[in-house]
Symmetry: C2
Subunit: 469 residues, 2 copies
């Protein structure tokens, strides 16, 4: 702790009691970092329970000049919630309530600490669900911060399309609300989208209104194998061009299938495999299935197997569900570093071919899984944490993936965010002038640079440095 | 002209030649104002042809301290492009090219001056279309500025969901790019959405990348009459809750049908009428039609008539297409003032009932049309321009509509924007703190307040004043 943190503690510890955490062994439990970045221990953690408490915290940190990092489930992959400066970590785990569900308007109002799984559990009896499913059981606040998505964004959109309204506490403790419950609005600057994806650098989200969707009447799921990535990707492109509203279209490459065969004791052909899920009435999904099957067979697809039965669907999707743990288990003690580029879908075959070549050249083990309906794919580097030289090779492959994505007007991150790891890539993607505009906005809203310092971009351009470890 | 405009003219007139307009009779032709606001004549108009020229213009106006208003087709309804200060109007009519169409990625890159109709004409041979259809033939730049939509936003989204990337010239002449061609991205602050809907107050859009959609294989369209607004709205709510992806769901109230019967020589029952359009394969639209018909009949719907034949579809939709001209023609010499609230759909019946009561109490003629799938509806006040007292009554009804919308967490504008007319409503909707944050962002990006001055909010809160005339 430094002087500012001590002064803050003197002022607020009595009010927060057990929820004001300074004990080193308790603090250690907050050194979250699901990804490959260094696990940092916060200097101080507080667990607010109300919006009012968050306002009090922000006003006090403003007066004392203390940096603030918001923390959800700690499952982000680019060090997005890492406490790189001495400051206060605001853990939202006690603000985890679903405040309201409006079935008629198909929306809910939640606190930021609720996880996506807990939210869906609460929604179970309403006929509605929250579709977005990043790999981990992230909190809604964290998903807003990184503009997260998952496997069914191709149908239901990302957090960008899901967040209708926010309550946000600004760096000086002012509470604002953005958006409304209307499905569309032309009223003023789109502050909702400014905060969504800003990774906690502009304000702390204390309440969110989210769009929900009706639980589909029927679900049809299954898989389709191809001899080439191109056949699989072309099937996706043609399906989307025909306007077929698929719920999921996921690709596993042969290395991913191989890892899953071992991990889940399966016997799948080790070929590029599309996992497809359809939602709707019986007539609609049958029509969609027939369209996709015809397209896929024309493009060399085989072993087409789909089912509406829940157990059978789970069996068919098993490899997709297990892709990440299977990759991790394929090498004892390994850490997985997941990359995250997203390209226009016409360039996806090239992008994946380039990735395969780079992985092979680097001599790495790295299955590929992709949300191919969006053009988004992840290379899962399976790395030995004790071999820095392996990490360097992976870093070079990652750079080449990002550079290729940017060369075809794609993005350096489809859903993981910038955090610490992609700050240079952000500049390469948007250019100095656009990142300078982001800095201008940041300085206007958070003049002291206290909110999640060091993330997304450095306030002083010259010091920006990507951090792969 | 003042000194600054004269200095600007001395510097730039030679370069722009005929495209630098100072002649009063030519300037008069730019006093656009489709809506009910005062028609103001710009002091100076320029017609750039390239992005480079826009950069030059912005850098020069920055040096000379000259206000700048961007102008598209001039069809906005809230005085959004009105030149309220002595300054330069940048007319984008010569930047109207479609720069690229990528059929595989289902997107296009356009200059801001292309109109939505011209864009669709160019797309005709590609199998793709740009769905958004505000009432007028607006330019894409104007639609970005006001976050516009139209009748099929319920399926295809608004400009918010349509703009993938922008090139924007900042107030000092710096060119930036936002977004990419990727369908999703978590890379940094969402500048695309910040500019979309900012009504030209933060920068001038010089290029936009837009999502397109496949022309539907089949289109089924028709109408359904109800004894009550509630029956019609409940049909919409239930349809959406079942996840039926309707392309259009439009409501006309009895007064609107009456005006259309006169104007278009129709003989429709003067009852609340839903106009429905479905897009998709034959099997899908038949399934959707059956679902909607069953829901509607349960809720008292009658005279259900739908067709896939283009002529017959046009006949069935005639009243919807003609609603605005029919309202205008219902009273010789009248001007139509279109309101624009949007409410959560569960509150739509109440909102329309409240509007009917207020219209009747005020003794006004005012048909109602609604994009009811979005909860967005327009009261079309048919007013005598020579009777200010009528306008005052309409203003009071409009205020009551806005206040009701805000009381149920809706918005004061679904698609027309704030402009001059809804600046007070913006504050009522978002609160002082959120509008102050908008001001903070505005000042950071445009410190001299030169871009579209007076629109969305006044930079100095105390002087804000709504202007209904």
């Amino acid at each position: 702790m430094n002087v500012a943190l001590e002064a803050l503690t003197a002022e607020l510890a009595p009010q927060f009691g057990e929820r004001w955490i300074t004990n080193p062994s308790r603090l250690e439990t907050f050194a979250y970092a699901e990804g490959h970045h260094a696990k940092l221990i916060p200097a101080l953690v507080v667990q607010p329970e109300t919006t009012e408490e968050v306002c009090i915290l922000m006003a006090a940190t403003h007066r004392h000049g203390v940096p603030v990092v918001a923390l959800g489930a700690g499952t982000s992959l680019e060090g997005n919630a890492s406490p790189v400066e001495l400051g206060l970590t605001v853990d939202f785990s006690r603000m985890d309530r679903v405040l309201e569900v409006s079935a008629e308007d198909m929306l809910c109002v939640v606190q930021p600490g609720v996880t996506r799984v807990a939210l869906n559990t609460e929604l179970r009896t309403t006929g509605l669900f929250f579709p977005l499913d990043p790999g981990a059981n992230a909190t809604i606040g964290g998903m807003i911060a990184t503009r997260a998505s998952g496997t069914n964004a191709v149908r239901y959109g990302t957090m960008r399309e899901t967040v209708l309204a926010l309550k946000v506490v600004l760096p000086d403790g002012t509470l604002i609300q953005t958006g409304s419950r209307a499905r569309k609005s032309a009223a003023g600057y789109d502050l909702t989208h400014l905060f969504t994806g800003s990774e906690g650098t502009l304000g702390l989200v204390v309440e969110a209104t989210l769009r929900l969707h009706g639980i589909p009447e029927h679900v049809l799921a299954g898989s389709f194998t191809f001899d080439t990535i191109e056949g699989a990707v072309s099937t996706v492109i043609n399906t989307i061009q025909l306007g077929v509203a698929v719920a999921r279209m996921e690709l596993l490459d042969p290395a991913a299938i191989r890892a899953c065969n071992v991990y889940s004791h399966l016997d799948l052909p080790e070929l590029p495999t599309l996992f497809i899920e359809l939602h709707g009435s019986e007539a609609i999904i049958e029509d969609q299935r027939a369209t996709i099957e015809a397209i896929g067979r024309d493009l060399g697809g085989r072993d087409f197997a789909m089912s509406t039965d829940a157990d059978e669907r789970n069996r068919l999707f098993r490899a997709r569900h297990d892709a990440l743990p299977a990759a991790r288990a394929s090498r004892p003690g390994a850490v997985v570093w997941s990359t995250d580029v997203c390209v226009p879908i016409s360039r996806l075959t090239d992008a994946i071919a380039g990735a395969h070549a780079a992985i092979e050249e680097a001599g790495l083990t790295a299955p590929i899984v992709g949300h191919v309906g969006d053009g988004n794919f992840h290379v899962l580097f399976v790395l030995d944490p004790a071999k820095p030289e392996e990490w360097e090779r992976a870093g070079r492959v990652n750079d080449s993936l990002v550079n290729h994505a940017l060369s075809v007007d794609g993005t350096c991150t489809g859903e993981h965010g910038i955090g610490l790891g992609k700050r240079q890539a952000l500049v390469r993607e948007h250019g100095d002038a656009a990142v300078d505009l982001m800095r201008t906005i940041k300085r206007a809203i958070d003049p002291d640079g206290r909110l999640n310092p060091g993330k997304v971009f450095e306030l002083t351009p010259a010091t920006a440095k990507d951090d792969h470890g």
